[in-house]
Symmetry: C2
Amino acid sequence: MTKKYTVTPWEVTGEVDYDKLIKEFGTEKINEHLLERIKKHTGELHYMLRRKIFFSHRDLNLVLDEYEKGMEFALYTGRGPSGNTHIGHLVPWIFCKYLQDKFGAELYFQITDDEKFMLKPELTLEKTNELGYENALDVIACGFNPDKTFIFVDTDYAKTLYKLSIQIAKKVTTSSAKAVFGFTNETNIGMMFWPAVQAAPCFLPSVLKGKKIRTLIPAAIDQDPYWRISRDVAPKLGFPKTAAIHNLFLPALTGQGSKMSASHEETAVYTTDSEDIVAKKIKKYAFSGGQATIDEHRKKGGNPDVDVSYQWLTFFEEDDKKLENIYREYKEGKMLTGELKQILTDKIVNFLKKHQEKREKAKKVLDKFILKD
Amino acid sequence: MTKKYTVTPWEVTGEVDYDKLIKEFGTEKINEHLLERIKKHTGELHYMLRRKIFFSHRDLNLVLDEYEKGMEFALYTGRGPSGNTHIGHLVPWIFCKYLQDKFGAELYFQITDDEKFMLKPELTLEKTNELGYENALDVIACGFNPDKTFIFVDTDYAKTLYKLSIQIAKKVTTSSAKAVFGFTNETNIGMMFWPAVQAAPCFLPSVLKGKKIRTLIPAAIDQDPYWRISRDVAPKLGFPKTAAIHNLFLPALTGQGSKMSASHEETAVYTTDSEDIVAKKIKKYAFSGGQATIDEHRKKGGNPDVDVSYQWLTFFEEDDKKLENIYREYKEGKMLTGELKQILTDKIVNFLKKHQEKREKAKKVLDKFILKD
């Protein structure tokens, strides 16, 4: 039996079977018991937890055990600045903001201008660095607390990161990096080293605060392999193993079972897209679960489970009731694809309008968030 | 026909055939014509040039062409801080000081605490960093001009170095690093990246000054492979190719044809050794070219060409006449091994006494020489 999908940090294709992926990656499903435990601390659960958009984890129980003993944990996530931010990137950030609010956790946010420069032949370091600070505005626009949020662009924080990275690198063989990341002998020596740089922020809160602080990484599940190296190395360096909480991919506009890609414009909506562009992209590209004709749709109903507009609403419409109504009406054929697309367009346009205002304001407070050497 | 020696940056064993090595490495011999050219600018030639201790080069002609057109060049050399400095390390530094004086060249001096930490399982980063600043005192004691000398310990200058290193690293495949440095899949990913960090100072003067400045590297010839990568990459990044001038190894006390090693105490004299220790080491370990008995020695004479005490004098006795007399008298059996060892002991003790005084004074001016981010 061959798999119908591929999920690695550098490739996501096919229709992903998330239950299989949990087994394959060796992570744990977020079960009802764990949700109840979270709820004790957060009150109402975030809709991304209720809807199992965050569906898998590593050591989240341990994070809660320690938190209940009065030990702080820190959040770590990041962004590879190869282009503008798209709304798929915002999913874990929105969730981070929730965790920061509910648990008072600090957020360490890595922007990997070094990685994207070394990975993409066409990108200069000046360009990825510039994109990094553009992307940082989108992070800040999510509403993080400036006193508890530390954003760093790798090459501008390289002194601190390099010192930590070489301690990790000393414990990781080339074989192991090849196996985990799919590197080959043709991989450049910068990328070969780079897993150590990505692992460094796992231990950065402990280093900066001079005490053991576990990090929790909210990220799409394809990024999980990166943390295996960090988890292997942690005990050797005397740091706590990083915990993780994994989200589903926001599907590409063009269809489910694949990931939005900053390099394929038609698959993604960018945070800087205008109202017109958002409307046009959704109208033109959003894969539909509707029937071929209106008559047929009225009769047979649509399929919200494959309809990308509906899927996107599960990520951005906070109101469960509204979402249920849409699901039912679309399935029953009462709602047409055009109407569903309009609901999504309104939702995204409205969301982006607020985001863009906050993004504009972020320019004035950027310095408060940035860690530099 | 098998080779009787091995010369790589990580291993030097056997009796080195330097003429063969020049062919093998593809470097050029320093011929009389080139010596005449140097002499035009320096006046009297340094004894290390007269005696062909510096015997091979890459692009030294080009450095002189450019110098004669009024273009400056910069010197680059370095030290891996795995232990105390021994007097073999001083050979290229003494020569650098001469080049700095005669050509007004700036010296960029890299101290690789990162490399030694990643290479040696038993060394901590704290230790190699500390050794790095100890070693820096020996550099300064050689008498460099503080206005023209920039010493940096890698992890304390990592922000600048990392930015430059990743530009180099992007152009170097893992295959290529394996071939040049003897790395394998068991090599840790930090060492795999590290050739880029060692190449970075080749281009550092150009980056810091914002114009093209060729670097010239005086170093023992075993280090030459490191610069092949730097020379390959230079045109791709728009920098001048690094030039080099290579010296013979100062033989180990225990015998010619091998290199002094900081990890084998009996083979080396450290800059911090006391008078007693120097005398004892030379007496006990210096490989002798003398005969088995005094009578036999008087009759047959000694062999200065294999006698380590004599060989060391060629590196440290500046007076050609004195050296010639010693050679002749030892060969004719007029001078006994004990007497020759005493001459070397006096020379080294006297040299180290002055060095140690200057090293002590260096502690007060260290900051003037150190580049940090």
